[in-house]
């Protein structure tokens, strides 16, 4: 129990602020526990009866992937698991008491292993699991029902060991299998102090072919269920999407009406909420304030000379400028924790760099150090770490994803010269990032952890870029 408390409190620190690893000169402040220190998790395959059998492959893969990608555990490979897999607490057996006295002739020796039915089969080598997830599924009354359990293998008996025991319901199809797996994974992650991103959505720009129409699409955080949102069917099209804090609205830039202009849409149902664009040659790169009530954006108003940062109501009215005139200032992003600070990109000192300023325009500070070009800033939910794309150390146009503590200016390089790596955005858990990379040849969207590990490609068709991560 003590270890669980330690783990939960460390994860809480990681979630709420910066987690400085012991070594002083290592800029590792990303809020993740180093892999070798994470507890070991074994997840047994779930089986089903009564009609759910064909769904279990999807269920098991989704559950494993969600738990692994949370960055909380060392996952123990299934190849090490014993032959017999318990499906519920009652399946566990107690090892027989040790033999006393001389073994009688003809009696078989006492068993030394339960082949999976003893707790020791899982807590000892080769599995050496700290935690074990198991369960089963069945179809009852036309509903896919999953019974999921998590055990702490350091306890002696199953009843002491059980940490989670819960039912999950879904439709009897692939989406139902994924939904129940996502929900169970979220409960496991929450139990261990993490924030769940399963069930969150990534919005992005999709282009079926180069020079084709760019439209805004959305997908699940693991890349499944892609669906189209905008259907303007014009070129160049729509891009630079951002999501409202409650996940219900998106704001983006589109050429649908001729000049690049800002649109604000509700997501469910998809509806144009009508944003008033100032009369200007360009209105672009909108994003939401953390209270969801205002939009900050870049505009070439009033004299068609791009661009100043403006703030306005959700409908575009009540606009006023924030940044000083005369520079190319774009991509404003409001600090999600304080609501009083804006990160943005400006060419005021030469090539584009990342700056911060107060929401009233005062206290402009350059955050990137002036080398190369820095662009695409994105705030971690902790309100202190900025991810951005930077050409530092590479040729013009060769961006990598970096993250920087805006107070200490310590930074970490997350990608390393595999193509262009741009537009990093944070997941609601503050531990995952989505970004665009050309490392595979074309622009595709990837996710990774805040220390740069576990990169995962989540799009593949056409050209995909400019992700935004919402609820």
């Amino acid at each position: 129990m003590k270890k669980l408390v330690w783990l939960a409190s460390m994860a809480a620190i990681a979630g709420s602020g910066l987690f400085i690893v012991a070594s002083q000169d290592q800029p590792d402040f990303v809020g993740l526990i180093v892999n070798s220190q994470r507890p070991k998790m074994a997840i047994a395959d779930f089986r089903a009866s009564g009609g759910g059998e064909t769904l279990m492959s999807t269920f098991n893969q989704t559950l494993w992937s969600d738990v692994e990608s949370a960055g909380l555990f060392q996952m123990v490979s299934k190849s090490l698991y014993p032959a017999r897999i318990p499906q519920q607490p009652a399946d566990f057996q107690q090892p027989p008491p040790p033999a006393t006295g001389r073994p009688k002739r003809g009696q078989p020796p006492p068993p030394t292993t339960g082949n999976g039915l003893w707790i020791a089969d899982w807590s000892g080598p080769p599995v050496s699991a700290t935690y074990l997830t198991l369960g089963f599924a069945a179809v009852q009354n036309g509903v896919f029902v999953v019974r999921g359990f998590v055990f702490d293998m350091r306890r002696g008996t199953p009843s002491e060991a059980q940490v989670i025991g819960k039912n999950y319901l879904g439709s009897v199809d692939e989406p139902g299998a994924r939904k129940t797996a996502h929900e169970f994974a979220c409960d496991i992650i929450a139990q261990f102090g993490g924030t769940c991103i399963a069930g969150s959505h990534i919005y992005y720009t999709h282009q079926p072919s180069k020079l084709g129409s760019k439209e805004i699409w959305m997908m699940d955080a693991d890349g499944s269920n892609p669906r189209q949102i905008t259907r303007f069917n014009n070129v160049p099209g729509s891009t630079f999407v951002s999501v409202s804090p409650d996940g219900g609205k998106i704001a983006f830039t589109s050429y649908a009406k001729g000049q690049p202009a800002i649109f604000v849409f509700s997501v469910d149902p998809v509806r144009d909420l009508r944003f008033y664009n100032q009369a200007a040659s360009v209105n672009a790169t909108p994003s939401f304030t953390p209270d969801g009530k205002q939009i900050v954006y870049a505009s070439s108003a009033p004299d068609d000379r791009c661009c100043r940062i403006f703030i306005a109501n959700l409908d575009g009215m009540g606009f006023r400028p924030i940044s000083a005139p005369g520079f190319i200032d774009v991509e404003p992003k409001v600090n999600p924790k304080t609501g009083t600070q804006i990160a943005f990109v400006s060419g005021r000192s030469g090539h584009p760099q990342v700056y911060t300023m107060n929401i009233d325009g005062g206290n402009v500070e350059r955050i990137s150090d002036g080398t190369g070009e820095a662009t695409n800033p994105a705030w971690n939910p902790n309100g202190r770490t900025l991810a951005f794309a930077w050409t530092r150390g590479y040729a013009t146009g060769k961006y990598n994803v970096f993250e920087m503590d805006v107070v200490t200016r310590k930074y970490l390089q997350l990608t390393h010269d595999e193509g262009r790596n741009e537009n990093p955005v944070w997941a609601p858990d503050g531990v995952h990032l989505a970004f665009m990379s050309t490392r595979g040849g074309t622009e595709q969207i990837y996710t990774m952890l805040a220390d740069g590990t576990q990169p995962q490609k989540i799009t593949s068709q056409g050209y995909n870029s400019n992700p935004a991560w919402g609820k």
């Binding site: 499906q87 519920q88 360009v282 060419g347």
Partner: protein, 279 residues
Amino acid sequence: MFDRHKIPAICLAISLTVFAAGCNKRSAPIAPPPPMAAPAPNGGGSTPVAPAPAAAAPVVAQFSAEPTSILIGQSSTLRWQVTGDTSSVTIDQTIGTVQNTGNRRVFPSQSTTYTLTATGAGGTTTGTATVSVSEAPGPPPSTGGAGMGVPRAATGGGTFEQRILASVQDVYFDYDQSEVRGDSQAVLTQDATALKAVLADFPNAIIMVEGHCDERGSAEYNLGLGDRRASSAKDFLVQLGVPADRIRTISYGKERPQCTESNEQCWQKNRRVHFSPGQ
């Protein structure tokens, strides 16, 4: 463990989420599958799968040319939209493979019928669009006297678009710069003369000054830089007497490159201002 008190809540959830079937009696707790003697079979049971219904051929929702009649040297715009299960769309007359929906400006030198071919799993569908091309009328005979204005045709015939294409040249910029550099000033000066003439001949027309960038900067910043290049060129033209209310600026950032190679020669071609007819 399975809490008996939660059964009514679970029944309610089942009713609400999936079926409207009543659930007014306590359901039996679900049983796990029997323990395995042999390894469990792989997923994907033995129920036969019905063959997928045959796909329908693609639908050419639109394939048109506008205008359908032009003078030689003018252009027409083909517009098309193909829906349904489509794996490829091609148009003949050397246009080649295109995306399912799009448009293309064409300059046929004689009357031409364009054929669009859309192929998908369900078959092939075609559509046609025809552009008629006729000779431009010759210039009226010269009147030869003093004091007569220069006939319009003598300054170069053709549409607004054709005149821009022929007489207003692109200008180029340095990396991450929007100032009109020396060599571009000379070109813009010539452009100003040409534009004043064209705009005088077409009193209702508007010129679009497009700003473009090379591929290397971010798309967001390049949207801004392209806008600055366009406004920079416009300022220069206005100073030379081109009427400001006849010029509009637009930035395409790096979205409409002239070429796609990753070398300085191509990058320079893309760092440009381009002139086109406005709406």
